[in-house]
């Protein structure tokens, strides 16, 4: 019996594939450097197409996803700043509400297993639900968003084109947003070009010294080539007495996760200030001073930081020079990532 259904499923799948050709959907191949690991996201469950990515991009920049149609995803995730919200320690949303955390930069999301500073979201598809429904971010509820999209002049046809569905559903809304987000990939920084030995690009002596320091002191958590291990770590920050944010433990309910937060990628770190989950540091220099002199000891402190990181003033300058080599202007100023002008 199971085999019969398998055969039927295969045939139906083949039909769907044929009908997708008929619809003229153009497949999009996610490309990434050969020295990167395989993506965590299962692209077979949400095959990328040029049309699907364009739909996701339209939704990403459309305030229709917020309760009063004023706030879009891009409000807190600006393309020119590595898709994060700069100049605010804590990101703000609908009706100038202030949240409790610094928005995260969005890039190389296909390689991410958990999302949000505490890993509360376990899949890229489901991430958008959190900001859409958060009262201080977009303040909407999902059924109402779907109702608005179904009633709009443009979206039903776009969803039909991409997913072959008569109605916009939660599943397809989320998959469309994922399609766009999956294209936000940064792999063309100076660091990448040096690694690829491209066009004779080389580190300066200062960057070389910084890279050496990075590999010695930072790489165990901000692991190359994605510059994050994807783990949760307590990096020795003193807990903000007002926010009282304990991080991962709220999700895992495991006391060993107290004060642990997701290790963010350092790619494009030059443009993604402020830093840390609560945006307490405004410059890379302040960050390095924390690691050199400000580590707070606790039971859950990352073992790598138990002695702090000994950095001279020269070391800090060299390290920052290397960190700036992670800036990828092709990513930051990619016109395919910005507001979709018609």
């Amino acid at each position: 019996m199971r085999n019969r259904w398998l055969i039927l499923s295969l045939l139906v799948g083949f039909l769907i594939l044929l009908s997708s050709f008929d619809q003229g959907l153009r497949p999009y191949t996610l490309s990434y450097p050969e020295y990167w690991p395989a993506p965590h996201y299962d692209l077979n469950k949400n095959p990328l197409t040029i049309e699907g990515i364009a739909l996701g991009r339209a939704l990403f920049y459309d305030p229709i996803l917020s309760e009063n149609n004023t706030v879009s995803c891009a409000n807190c995730h600006l393309s020119f700043t590595a898709f994060t919200h700069v100049d605010h320690a804590l990101s703000h949303g609908i009706r100038d509400s202030i949240g409790t955390r610094n928005s995260m930069a969005l890039m190389n999301l296909a390689w991410s297993r958990y999302f949000m500073w505490d890993g509360a979201v376990n899949h890229l598809d489901m991430q958008a639900i959190a900001p859409i429904t958060h009262p201080a971010e977009m303040g909407e509820d999902m059924p109402h968003v779907i109702e608005k999209l179904n009633a709009s002049a443009q979206y039903p046809d776009l969803f039909k084109e991409v997913f072959g569905t008569e109605k916009v559903t939660g599943e397809y809304l989320l998959k469309a947003i994922s399609q766009f987000e999956l294209t936000l990939n940064s792999s063309n920084s100076k660091y990448d070009k040096v690694m690829r030995k491209e066009d004779g690009v080389q580190f300066t002596n200062q960057e070389k010294k910084g890279y050496y320091l990075f590999q010695r002191h930072c790489n165990s958590c901000h692991t190359e080539p994605l510059f994050t291990s994807g783990e949760f770590k307590n990096n020795g920050l003193l807990m903000d007495p007002q926010l009282k944010d304990l991080g991962r433990v709220k999700i895992s309910l495991d006391p060993r996760d107290s004060l642990k937060f997701k290790v963010p990628s350092l790619r494009n770190v030059e443009f993604s200030q402020p830093y840390m989950h609560d945006g307490r540091f405004r410059s890379l220099s302040q960050v390095l001073t924390h690691y050199a002199e400000g580590i707070q000891s606790s039971n859950t402190l990352a073992s790598e930081l138990s002695e702090g990181i000994a950095l001279s003033p020269e070391d800090k300058v060299d390290l920052i020079a290397f960190l700036l080599s992670l800036t990828d202007k092709e990513f930051l100023f990619n016109p395919d990532h910005s507001f979709p002008r018609k």
Partner: protein, 228 residues
């Protein structure tokens, strides 16, 4: 391209005919409250002791013969909602002449599905059974009013979910049954509510030990009318 498509359509129709060797087993899920079938499809009216919401996921249906699995439903995800009468009647396509004497299912959504992204149908995250702030499905939602509840205006709200160890809440239920159709599976909400100390606990809104304990209790109140 058209020839290929026609060929595939013919093949698909043949396959459907092939699959018509199946028979439909209707399963009626019957939440029972005040000794009556719970129907929340009418306009809600607050009473001293009443239920406002009852929803639960029943998934991964299986039929067994003497504890041996003889049939498994593919893509088996059903959201039961007491306010939607049609959601309480499940149509399972099982092979003709299949011999079985037990029916089994999960109360809740399994952990693999919980970490596998967006789904449609009953698993669509817009159905009000998905936690945004902490990924995962609410497996069972029971809300209402009871004089013993310690909450303001005597309300109680139990949203039972969580897939991460050690506080997984999904429960497998296995019941003896006859080979009747429709098969009626009752959920004894009267006894379930009586078993809860509402003065001590009237709300569960997140995963954890209490959600796990109550999920284990809830699973005990499923029974099959034709149980032998």
């Amino acid at each position: 391209m058209k020839c290929i498509k026609d060929f595939v359509i013919i093949l698909a129709i043949s396959a459907v005919h092939f699959c018509s060797l199946a028979q439909e087993l209707k399963v009626f899920i019957n939440p029972v409250f005040n000794s009556q079938s719970l129907d929340l499809s009418a306009e809600f009216e607050v009473k001293e002791h009443c239920i406002k919401t009852f929803k639960c996921y029943l998934t991964s249906f299986e039929l067994l013969k003497d504890n041996r699995i003889v049939w498994t439903e593919e893509n088996s995800n059903h959201l039961i909602d007491a306010s939607l009468p049609e959601s309480k009647l499940l149509n399972l396509n099982v092979p003709k002449d299949l011999q079985y004497n037990q029916i089994s299912f999960l109360v809740g959504v399994d952990s693999l599905t919980s970490v596998s992204g967006a789904f449609g149908g009953d698993l669509d995250p817009t159905k009000g059974m998905y936690w945004a702030w902490n990924s995962g499905y609410v497996n069972l939602k029971l809300e209402g009013f009871h004089p013993n509840s310690s909450s303001p205006n005597n309300e109680f709200e139990f949203h039972l979910g969580g897939y991460l160890p050690p506080f997984q809440t999904v429960q497998r239920v296995c019941l003896f049954c006859a080979m009747n159709s429709p098969l009626e599976i009752n959920i004894d909400l009267d006894t379930f509510i009586k078993s809860i100390d509402l003065e001590a606990i009237s709300k569960i809104m997140s995963p954890g030990e209490k959600a796990k304990e109550m999920s284990i209790i809830a699973a005990k109140y499923f029974s099959c009318k034709y149980e032998k």
